[in-house]
Point group: C2
């Protein structure tokens, strides 16, 4: 997984943090525990639709098919349950989360409520300034859009949002919004077809970034909220009242 839980407060040797200026930067391959790798595998499989909503997830089966024991599988499932991608129904097994109307409603309401705050904080923290990481994601999205690579495009668009979360400088908001984004991806994947609203999405992303780089927190905040709400409307209209 990307955001490792390891905090490492020990003495020197900041394996994660920003290296000292001029320091020799050697990418340390992190072994990552089996739990984490299993978590990552399952998360990806759920997000890309390989494991559809309602799909039963049996500890023993997964353990066997992934070539590990139950223990790491179990931990991964617990973590997925906590993030909302998986539901643990007491004594009737674990399964990929089922989607209902209220989930979508609450999900987008939460995102629309919180994401603008993160955008505002990012602006407040940096003032009028280039947000290189976000801009890079945006440019890449543009390139991928013209190239027609929709899968990678989705990734780039999501990265755009995540870079802003990160720029907010608030670990709690960042983690929470990442969680909500995962769920958004999950819901969107389940309701596939998602006819390309990519151009509109790109335009809104550009507008948000422009407001951020202009150092206008209020405008950036408002645009971010509208962006999320429009996405929600689109998704709901695509899903229709489709059962499950």
């Amino acid at each position: 997984m990307s955001r490792s839980r390891v905090t490492r407060t020990t003495s020197a040797a900041p394996l994660n943090g920003a290296p000292a200026a001029g320091a020799l930067v050697i990418p340390v391959e992190q072994p990552a525990s089996r739990s984490d790798r299993v978590y990552d595998s399952l998360r990806r499989a759920i997000l890309d639709g390989t494991l559809p909503p309602g799909r039963p997830l049996v500890e023993r089966e997964l353990a066997e098919s992934l070539g590990v024991s139950k223990t790491p599988v179990r931990e991964a499932l617990k973590k997925l349950a906590l993030s909302g991608l998986v539901e643990m129904n007491s004594y009737s097994g674990v399964s990929v989360r089922r989607i209902d109307g209220s989930l979508i409603e609450e999900l987008y309401t939460a995102r629309a409520g919180v994401e603008p705050t993160a955008v505002r904080l990012a602006v407040v923290a940096y003032g009028p300034a280039r947000h290189d990481a976000a801009r890079q994601a945006l440019d890449e999205a543009q390139r991928l859009a013209t190239a027609g690579e929709t899968a990678a495009l989705g990734l780039a668009n999501r990265r755009f949002h995540r870079e802003i979360y990160s720029a907010s400088g608030n670990r709690f908001l960042c983690e929470f919004l990442n969680q909500l984004q995962d769920l958004t991806t999950f819901v969107a994947t389940a309701g596939w077809r998602l006819k390309a609203t990519f151009e509109q999405e790109a335009e809104e992303h550009r507008a948000i970034l422009a407001a951020m780089e202009a150092g206008d927190p209020a405008l950036a905040e408002r645009l971010a909220g509208e962006h999320i709400r429009r996405a929600a409307r689109t998704l709901v209209s695509v899903l229709g009242e489709q059962p499950r």
Copy 2:
């Protein structure tokens, strides 16, 4: 633990959800797994300061002293780590989270950003109406304040906030805010002394609830934000620049 992860989507028998009108309501005692009980014990111990920040938490020790095996202890620790009360430093053990300035800063920023949204949603959802649960907590707080029972008073005040989270009708915001509230309690406990600002707190609570019951989302939202920010200022001033 209070908020069980059990989702139970099976057929009828909504053991959790609101029971059908006129249905016979019998409180089903939930056995709760050992993991959950361990989680609950540790959470309480951390929140009330029995386990202070930085205190090492060794799986084997805890297992022995709690009379269970490592497995449930391990799961509880993982969960606590995810909620931020515990830090897992790779290969140097687990310990109660250490507190630094940026933690407090980010914590209160996040709460100030999100909690007003929940308050607004609660008002929007219910319109001008009595919020009985919140009011009850508020009244109880008043009673306990005059009785001088500060410990119980703290609980009542926290319950006031949680009732509002719940009234927002948004599971994501509710869970996230509960997590932030736990961390707030944790930080506040660590910085004890917390000279009684109870009267001011009560007054602000009353103002928020009044705005809610009057059906004024904007006002309620604003008051909630100011409430959190003032609490943050108070805590920071109490902590001073106290190391750790």
